[in-house]
């Protein structure tokens, strides 16, 4: 992948290079390390200012871990996370300590998946949304209240609700509270981890529209971690597909959905049930055999080769590197140029 893109291209906000996050497996009386779960294994990507990058994959593929590494909820095992600050300085988030991270946490915020467990039931909305302001700014109580009222109004809640507790709100409303909290400090980058997965369809549409409005209004950059491909297509400019800790494909949304170049992306697209009975896909759908590889004990060569329809001898020997096929389309497959894969529109 391009080296040092962030230093050359001003529009790049974040560049992740060779990011690795290995969790040790310990066993026995002495808790000796007997192995490692390679949750994230050599991941490279970049995010431009104002865009939405989707991070998709099945559970256990490391998409959430990647998001958490960017926020430094985890300290990565190796790699760099280069972030361009508002002032223009470029910092490596992977090496900062807590003191160094503190100003970064004002600029990078997170929206969580479960609106039920991510809000403290003993805090009122004012405390929940105002907490980041209290910790990071010198605003007075009155000013905090005003800011919270503004934020609540902005996410579509009535400011009068400020003194209520989260139990009084439905799932969709709670997710709005979580969004208000993440916006309290005027962040520049928001990592949304499955922000709409727990919501009902009608409410999900409301939240998706809200996320888009807020992005325009506040000039936000999103990293949108999700497993729902229809939501990702709707919201994201570019999409990165992960499989067992590796990035397998990264491209513009239209390109990825219409012309996937990695067999895993093809299978993933084909597995999504289409809400149209005329496109019923039984028999035409690609059914992946077996289960996702174990990240503690991945197969040799390409991690996807045991389930790949196009696997050849080379795939089980040599791990493919992420290569640029031109026009910002990155893929890690030995045979990306030779294969003709079906996109979502192609199914008849």
């Amino acid at each position: 992948m391009t080296i040092d893109l962030i230093h050359q291209d001003d529009s790049v906000l974040l560049e992740v290079r060779n990011l690795k996050m290995h969790f040790p497996i310990r066993k026995g009386f002495l808790r000796r390390q007997v192995g490692a779960v390679r949750a994230v294994d050599d991941v490279n990507f970049f995010v431009r200012k104002g865009e939405t990058l989707g991070l998709v994959g099945e559970s256990g593929c490391g998409k959430t871990t990647t998001g958490r590494c960017i926020l430094r909820a985890y300290t990565p095992t190796a790699g760099e996370i280069l972030y361009r600050r508002g002032s223009g300085d470029i910092v490596d988030l992977a090496t900062l300590d807590d003191t160094g991270m503190k100003p970064m946490w004002r600029e990078i915020r997170m929206i969580f998946q479960d609106p039920y467990s991510s809000l403290n039931p003993r805090m009122t909305l004012l405390e929940i949304v105002g907490d980041p302001l209290k910790l990071n700014t010198a605003l007075s109580g009155k000013e905090i209240e005003e800011r919270v009222a503004f934020l609540l109004r902005r996410v579509g809640l009535r400011p009068e609700y400020m003194h209520r507790y989260p139990h009084a709100f439905s799932g969709g409303e709670r997710q709005r509270i979580g969004i208000a909290r993440s916006l309290a400090l005027n962040p520049r980058l928001v990592v949304a981890d499955e922000a709409v997965s727990a919501l009902d369809v009608s409410v999900r549409a409301q939240i998706l529209n809200l996320l888009q409005d807020l992005q325009q209004e506040f000039g936000l950059t999103y990293i949108f971690v999700a497993h729902d491909l229809s939501v990702v297509e709707y919201l994201c400019d570019r999409v990165a597909v992960m499989y067992v800790g590796k990035l397998v494909e990264l491209a513009k949304t239209e390109t990825l959905y219409e012309n996937p170049r990695h067999p895993y992306t093809e299978a993933l697209m084909s597995a999504v049930p289409k809400p149209n009975p005329k496109q019923r896909g039984r028999g035409k759908r690609i059914i992946l055999e077996g289960d996702v590889a174990d990240p503690a004990n991945p197969p040799k060569g390409c991690y996807f080769h045991p389930r790949c329809r196009y696997a050849k001898a080379r795939c089980s020997q040599e791990a493919p590197a992420l290569r640029n096929l031109g026009d910002d389309h990155f893929v890690s497959c030995h045979f990306a140029e030779e294969l003709t894969l079906r996109g979502v529109g192609a199914r008849s």
Partner: protein, 356 residues
């Protein structure tokens, strides 16, 4: 209406299941009608809290107290086996049976089986899957332990678990999510039910695993000829597998019909809005999603009249907020519960309802 159809398997008529809580009565299911024919797939869709799971649990008579079936009929048409040539049908009203009585227990798990959403929480963690499946078999059939074990291995093989002779002695935690769901399906199929109720069986699974399970279920259905009642909130799954669809909202059936009709000519404003609010893979990019404003009302304070009128864009003031519309048949199996269609008491039906 006793002999409605040759192929009728179960008829649910005006089913009401209410929960009597200290805070008030929650009418989780409030007058639901539908029927399932032999061998067909009926999908029940709706948002959380619309009563779709409680409907399924009512059929199984496993509604937890303080919930109770307060009225309605659930007629199960049983075909007596072993009786020579003619099909002898005997009709049982499940609503009349005691939830823990002997009769329902011969039906539950044998004629009607259920698959639950969370395979990890609905399987016992301290028993092997073989033990759990063979328990169901020995309960309903006169077999020896060895025979039961053999049947268990067979059914595990049927649902595509590799090396079933080994897996039969595994505990649930040793299986992956997809495998656990397969084990659940195996347990449900072990006594060859005529109706399989699947309550969001693929919601907790990844899309690729979901594709495997859906493929397996539709394949097994063809092979075994059972009927399926499939509960889901994912309209993509509905489009993929359903023969007929029931759309529920707040304890009532808003619309029902065959899958093509529901997706191509939805009539009820709720169905229309629901279909418009989902982003489609391969659809137009960046089109703003249509939303249904507001949210599902609080179950303690159900709106009077049509439960959807508070969020409906086509509501007729003075009518929709007063009386619950009747079920109107629009030909075939297509039925809709909305004042915009069929005979409204005073004025002629308004047109523009199904702008889809």
């Amino acid at each position: 209406m006793i002999m409605a159809s040759e192929n009728m398997l179960i008829e649910v008529k005006n089913l009401k299941t209410h929960f009597f809580l200290d805070q008030g009565t929650v009418k989780a299911v409030d007058g639901v009608d539908f029927d399932i024919n032999r061998g067909e797939t009926l999908c029940v869709v709706g948002e959380s809290g619309c009563g779709k799971s409680i409907t399924a649990r009512s059929i199984m008579q496993i509604v937890d107290p303080p919930g109770r079936i307060v009225s309605g009929e659930m007629l199960l048409h049983r075909r007596a086996s072993g009786s020579g040539s003619g099909q002898v049908e005997d009709v049982v009203d499940l609503a009349k049976l005691a939830p823990n009585g002997r009769e329902i227990r011969t039906i539950r798990g044998k004629e009607i089986a259920m698959i639950f959403q969370e395979p990890m929480t609905s399987l016992s963690p301290v028993h092997t899957i073989g033990h759990q499946i063979s328990q169901a078999i020995t309960l309903h059939n006169r077999v020896t332990k060895e025979q039961a074990r053999q049947q268990t291995v067979d059914v595990l093989k049927l649902v595509g678990i590799p090396k079933p002779e080994m897996r039969v002695d595994n505990y649930p935690f040793q299986l992956s999510g997809g495998m656990r769901q397969r084990a659940m399906i195996a347990m449900a199929l072990s006594c060859h039910p005529s109706l399989l109720i699947a309550d969001e069986p693929t919601t907790a699974l990844d899309v690729t695993t979901q594709a495997q399970i859906l493929d397996l279920m539709t394949g097994l259905q063809e092979e075994l000829g059972m009927a399926m009642m499939f509960i889901t909130h994912d309209l993509g799954v509905v489009a993929e597998i359903a023969d007929r669809v029931v759309v529920m909202y707040l304890g009532v059936v808003a619309e029902s019909g065959d899958v093509e009709t529901i997706f191509n000519e939805p009539k009820h404003p709720y169905t229309t809005a629901l279909l418009r609010s989902i982003p489609q893979v391969g659809g137009k990019l960046r089109q703003r999603l249509d939303t249904i404003k507001g949210m599902v009302p609080d179950p303690y304070n159900r709106p009077q009249g049509c439960p959807f009128h508070t969020r409906c864009i086509n509501r007729i003031p003075g009518l929709c907020n007063k009386t619950l519309p009747p079920n109107v048949s629009l030909g075939g199996s297509h039925e809709v519960r909305c004042w915009l269609f069929g005979s409204s008491p005073s004025n002629e039906p308004l047109q523009n309802g199904g702008a889809g």
